[in-house]
Every structure is written in structure tokens, then in C-alpha cells.
């Protein structure tokens, strides 16, 4: 998260998220293939539709665990702020889209976009924090 001196907890979190996202890509590709080729039966259709959500939910749970494990209170605050910005971005996108759909007949947000909006919001918040840290990155002591 644009952080030079990452803590042990953060490194573990990063490693796990990388695994979950790799699993997500694999599961998504498999699910798309099976739905296209074997999607006639209702049970399998539901099964393959829900399966890609599991790694994403795992990432969210891992985020919560990271917040519990992080010993550096400032880093914890920065992460919580970025999660808040991500949530706000997602809510804003959904609320605006709701009204557009209700009053202007607009289409719903594209599939798979919700988690992307959340991550984009988090990313922007972390980038801004990184810029702020960089701006005051003065080391001299004496």
C-alpha cells in the first residue's frame, strides 16, 4: 500500500491477498467456461455463479484480520481510512446508479464492477496518503 516500511502483518496480508486474487482469476475462468458449456442444469449454474465470489469474500475477511493483527496504529488508521474511502466510493456509485436506473432508465452497473469500484477507491486513498507521506519525508535529525 505505497508503504516503504511495511510491517510483518502487512506483508502477510499482501501475500494472502495475492493468493486469493490468483484463485479468483482461476475460479472465474473455470466458472465462465463451465457456465458456457455446462450451464443447462440449474444447480450447477448457481454453483458456478457463486463460486467466484468466495475468493473476493476471503479478501474482505483477510482485510479484517489484517486490521486486527497490525501493531502499528498509524498504519492501521491509514488502512481504515482507505477502506472507508473505498466503501464511500462504492456506495456513491451504487446510489447514483440506483437513481439513474429509477428515473432515467439507465442500465445497472456492469457485472463484477462493485469490488473494482471499492478497490479503486481504496487505491486512490492510499495513493494520496503516499503522496502526503512523501511530501513530508524529511529525515534529518540534527
Amino acid at each position: 500500500m505505497f508503504c516503504k516500511g511495511s510491517s510483518v502483518a502487512y506483508k502477510r496480508y499482501q501475500r494472502d491477498v495475492l493468493w486469493f486474487m490468483s484463485a479468483y482469476v482461476v475460479v472465474l475462468v473455470c466458472a465462465s467456461w463451465f457456465v458456457r458449456h455446462d450451464g443447462a442444469e440449474h444447480f450447477y449454474l448457481y454453483f458456478w455463479s457463486v463460486l467466484p465470489a468466495i475468493p473476493i469474500l476471503a479478501v474482505i475477511l483477510r482485510m479484517a484480520r489484517y486490521l486486527r493483527e497490525e501493531k502499528d496504529e498509524y498504519q492501521r488508521l491509514v488502512t481504515m481510512r482507505s477502506i472507508l474511502v473505498g466503501t464511500a466510493a462504492l456506495l456513491a456509485a451504487l446510489v447514483v446508479n440506483d437513481f439513474l436506473r429509477a428515473f432515467a432508465g439507465a442500465h445497472a452497473l456492469p457485472a463484477f464492477s462493485t469490488f473494482f469500484v471499492f478497490c479503486a477507491g481504496m487505491g486512490v486513498a492510499q495513493f494520496v496518503q503516499w503522496l502526503r507521506n512523501r511530501g513530508s519525508d524529511d529525515e534529518p535529525a540534527a
Binding site: C3, K4, G5, S6, S7, K71, D72, E73, Y74, Q75, L77, V78, R132, N133, S136, D137, D138, E139, A141, A142
Partner: protein, 64 residues
């Protein structure tokens, strides 16, 4: 809240990285406290005070 962290660090000739290591936090945390962008929790303030051998109120000033 203002603090004398930068001044005290200079007196001891410590770098931000060294102080961060002593406090078991990141250097960004030390920097954020020094520049007033973040007020530490009571446990961290106590750790800082212990490290410099001073009282918390000698390092942090809530009136400013």
C-alpha cells in the same frame, strides 16, 4: 496538539528510522507524529516518554 519529538530526536542524534525501530512502529508513523498529522495513542505516547526518559506532558502540548 504539538510535540517536541523532532527536537528531542535531534538532541539524541537519532534518525526517524532508528526511533521507529525502538518504538516498533513504521518510520511513516514517526514522521506523521512529528509533523502533527497524527496524535499517538496513550500506550504509544508512554513508550515515547519512556524512551526519552521524560513525562508525556514534557513531550506533548495540548494547548497549541
Amino acid at each position: 496538539m504539538t510535540n517536541r519529538l523532532r527536537e528531542l530526536r535531534a538532541e539524541h542524534g537519532w534518525s526517524q528510522a532508528y526511533l521507529a525501530e525502538q518504538l516498533e512502529v513504521s518510520r511513516q508513523s514517526v514522521n506523521a507524529i512529528e509533523t502533527g498529522r497524527y496524535d499517538p495513542s496513550l500506550p504509544l505516547a508512554f513508550r515515547l516518554a519512556r524512551l526519552f526518559g521524560m513525562a508525556i506532558e514534557e513531550i506533548f502540548d495540548e494547548t497549541a
